[in-house]
């Protein structure tokens, strides 16, 4: 068997500083904003929270912080954001970023809608030039009151597609304070955690920088996958991959596409890290299809591993 190169991603002392940080919102451009608005409302139950200048549209669960910002343009990732609930978390992130030589600007308070207390935030660009938001606490009760049969529970993680994973590890793990949960042995796919969830961010080499690989919503349990797969079929939205179970994260999954071709994941039973004091060495999974689906099956055309 042809074996690809092995690469062990290195963590420094900053890894794991963040314990209460999670995804908050994601912005992406699509060629047809109104088609996306209709799709996200019909399929995922997301409502229009605000229409902004330049045709931008924010969608959410009807109350609380927004989830998606749609921007007019060719399909690509515009920005992705995290809510920092760690005490002194934002200040620490800013200090470590500046010390490491990253350029940091203030986040427009407009992006911290439904803020708890005074909105605050910062922006740093990731290695592919995409702005990353970190902001103070927001109300998220719109998410967690969802009916999982018709709406997912919450926005759960973003997976960014890139051409080089290593600078992402330097930024997110060794500077900002995420921690590596798992990686493929070839170093081309890695999963980062910033709270109890196995991953709130993942980065994968896909031969193209700066776009969404996929992003994911939580369902509450396995039974919901049946309800969802049947609903998607009724809505003429083809299921692209799954149901199955990922190795890294051990979560159940199913994938489908939005009209612009963004890959959307529904997920449940993700591994949780409850014990901050426990020592855990990131696992290194073989870069083969059966690592990304423990149950076997077939991969969609867009999911590649460097070995078969």
């Amino acid at each position: 068997m042809q074996t690809s190169n092995r690469l062990i991603l290195q963590e420094t002392e900053h890894a794991g500083i963040l314990r209460q940080t999670a995804v908050s919102h994601i912005g992406f451009s699509v060629p047809d904003i109104e088609a996306a608005v209709v799709f996200y409302n019909r399929v995922l139950g997301l409502e229009v929270h605000a229409r902004l200048e330049n045709g931008r549209v924010r969608l959410g669960w009807g109350t609380g912080h927004h989830v998606i910002e749609l921007v007019q343009g060719q399909k690509t990732l515009a920005h992705y954001g995290f809510e920092v609930r760690d005490a002194e978390g934002l200040a620490g992130i800013r200090e470590r970023l500046i010390h490491a030589g990253y350029e940091v600007t203030d986040l427009d308070a407009d992006y911290v809608d439904a803020a708890v207390g005074n909105p605050a935030g910062l922006v740093v660009t990731d290695p592919d030039g995409t702005p990353v938001h970190f902001h103070s606490e927001v109300q998220r009760h719109g998410e967690n009151s969802a009916d999982p049969g018709r709406r997912p529970v919450k926005f759960q993680h973003t997976t960014v597609g890139t051409t080089d994973v290593v600078p992402f590890v330097d930024l997110f793990v060794n500077t900002i304070g995420f921690r590596i949960s798992d990686q493929l042995e070839d170093g081309k796919f890695t999963w980062f955690r910033s709270d109890k969830d196995h991953h709130t961010l993942a980065v994968v080499e896909v031969g193209k920088a700066g776009d969404i690989d996929h992003y994911s919503y939580d369902l509450s349990e396995w039974e919901d996958f049946k309800t969802w797969c049947d609903r998607l079929t009724e809505l003429d939205v083809p299921v692209a991959w799954g149901p199955g179970r990922h190795g890294p994260g051990n979560n159940l999954f199913v994938f489908f596409d939005d009209p612009a071709g963004n890959h959307i994941e529904l997920s449940a039973e993700m591994e949780k890290f409850y014990d901050n004091a426990a020592t855990y060495a990131p696992r290194r999974w073989q870069p083969v299809p059966s690592s990304v689906n423990l149950w076997g099956g077939q991969l969609p055309s867009w999911r590649k591993t460097s070995e078969q």
């Binding site: 396995w222 049946k226 083809p238 179970r245 423990l294 149950w295």
Partner: protein, 296 residues
């Protein structure tokens, strides 16, 4: 209520050259329990707790031993016996092939598949496995001569056609309210799979997790079939036969329901959710045993 001479699909007997491995696999993955052993045969059942729904027979080669069909009472058995004889299928045994049933006979059907038709399956006093399927449900055969096999089930044994796929490609046949007890697809002359009913999609995830825990994988699924509406997951057992676990199968209470016709190019009959390449799935199967091995 059965509308014909057959009321239920009873069991499948497989020849295996690795009997302990086959039995252990059926216990650990599928969740069957051994009800008894006699000589070269091991009898297993699900939560249905019957004397046998699955029989593994120690043999030199893997193969399908026989497929057991339960007749609609004494009258059904008598009529079936006459019809089978009149149709010219060679009778192999005028008495049951295995212990644990009241009466029955066996004969060689189309394409060398051996069938037993019987009545009065006995209950087994066993504790079902914690992950036992509910019951044995159906077989899927891939005959070379589809029309001859179809005629055998429909003309001789009173099965009704629930769904038709394409032109001379596949038929789903029922002998009671369950959408299919036998499925036929034109193929290489083997049995593709034997299928077991489970309670919910949760059980399909659990069998996939059990397979992974044993360094094995699903062959296909979970998928939602269009024909039959069941959700199913498949794996390959040591004999090479495919095993299906299914739930949510359509029940047809109108005996006169006309067949649902699926155009050949409508893949929703096979999968309504994710679109899969079925070529590897259909490359597995188990031929009828070439050598008769009698259970001792």
């Amino acid at each position: 209520m059965a509308f014909g001479v057959i009321s239920e699909i009873g069991y499948v007997a497989l020849h295996t050259r690795e009997i302990e491995r086959s039995v252990n696999h059926a216990r650990d993955i599928l969740g069957l329990v051994e009800t008894s052993r006699s000589g070269n045969a091991v009898y297993l059942s699900s939560a249905a707790k019957l004397h046998h729904e699955m029989v593994y027979i120690d043999a030199p080669e893997h193969g399908v031993g026989q497929i057991g069909l339960i007749a609609a009472g004494v009258t059904g058995l008598d009529i079936a016996r006459t019809r089978v004889r009149d149709a010219g299928y060679p009778i192999v045994s005028e008495t049951p092939l295995h212990p644990g049933v009241a009466d029955g006979f066996a004969f060689l059907g189309p394409e060398n598949f051996l069938f037993e038709i019987y009545i009065g399956p006995e209950h087994a006093d066993v504790v079902p496995s914690g992950h036992a399927p509910d019951r044995f449900g159906h077989v899927n055969l891939h005959p070379k001569n589809l029309q001859a096999m179809l005629s055998f089930f429909v003309e001789t044994l009173d099965f009704r056609i629930s769904d038709v796929i394409g032109d001379d490609f596949a038929y789903f046949l029922r002998c009671n309210a369950e959408h299919h007890g036998v499925a036929l697809m034109k193929g290489k002359g083997w049995m593709h799979h034997h299928a077991w009913q489970v309670q919910s999609i949760a059980d399909l995830g659990k069998v996939a997790d059990r397979l992974h825990a044993h360094d094995l994988r699903l062959l296909m699924g979970p998928v939602r079939h269009g024909a039959g509406h069941n959700i199913a997951a498949y794996y390959v057992e040591p004999t090479g036969a495919v095993v299906e676990l299914y739930t949510d199968l359509e029940h047809i209470y109108d005996d006169e329901r006309p067949p649902v016709i699926w155009p050949a190019d409508d893949r929703a009959w096979a999968t309504k959710w994710s679109i899969y390449d079925f070529s590897e799935f259909r490359s597995h199967g188990l031929f009828p045993a070439t050598e008769a091995v009698v259970a001792k």
